[in-house]
Amino acid sequence: MSNSIFGIHESALLVRRDRAEVLANNLANADTPNFKARDIDFRQAIHQFSSQSDSRFKPDMHRTNARHLEGFAEPSTSDFLKYRMPTQPSLDGNTVEAHIEKAKFAENAMQYQATLEFIDSRIKSISGALKGE
């Protein structure tokens, strides 16, 4: 239901949120030896998320009785994690380049806000329609 109201923006919000987390983790590990910086392939993730519609909310749960409830879980973006190719690899095997990660994080935050705007305007138009404005 909610999926049809918000369209692609609902999935986009989830992917952007997960991407923010991955980038934040890169920045926190800026000085960890052998840590490899990662990023989410947004294009692939959003494609997968939006094409699977409702089935993605049902994880493979081992149900031993037919009356057990089906599980609801958040879709995972971990399949779309890619490793960042560093431009200047460091000696300790760490591939985090703080300036790049910071730029990506800021970019992602802006996109998250844009997605919020879309969802917000959708809510406004629907509540306007309900109120008969």
Binding site: R17, D18, A20, E21, V22, L23, A24, N25, L27, A28, N29, A30, D31, T32, P33, F35, R38, E74, S78, L81, A98, K102, F105, A106, A109, Y112, Q113, L116, I119, D120, I123, K124, S127
Partner: protein, 137 residues
């Protein structure tokens, strides 16, 4: 996974950087801790970081922690100074293997990374607040 998790991640990032700043402070404070034998001399301490793996998925998504604090294996500075009150029988004193220039660079790097983590935390907080405000405006 949520925006709250980012706050935890940045929190761990800030935490390890304060530990790094602490070891820098300890190293700098002990730069003149002279001793009369090699075993008792202060050695430069450096934290080694390790990424925290998710218990369930094994993914590195939970920030960072201090794995251990290692002592520098660099040679101590042996100095011939027979008139020094701490000198041993041969007239030598031992100075810590703290490299002041290295420590200063270390300190600046640590405070930069700390700052970055604070920025990430702030941005996440703003995004979270805006998400909570959805539909209220």
């Amino acid at each position: 996974m949520s925006l709250f998790n980012i706050m935890d991640i940045s929190g761990t990032g800030m935490h390890v950087q304060t530990i790094r700043l602490n070891t820098v402070a300890s190293n700098m404070a002990n730069v003149d801790s002279i001793s009369s034998n090699a075993d008792e001399t202060y050695r430069s301490k450096q934290p080694v970081f390790q990424t925290i793996l998710d218990q369930r998925t094994g993914e590195p998504r939970n920030g960072v922690r201090v794995k251990e604090i290692v002592e520098s294996q660099a040679p101590l500075k042996m100095e011939y100074s027979p008139n020094h009150p701490m000198a041993n029988e041969e007239g030598y004193i031992f100075r810590p293997n703290v490299n002041v220039v290295e420590e200063m660079a270390n300190m600046m790097s640590a405070s930069q990374t700390y700052q970055t983590n604070v920025e990430v935390l702030n941005t996440s907080k703003q995004l979270l607040l805006r998400t909570i405000q959805l539909g209220k405006g």
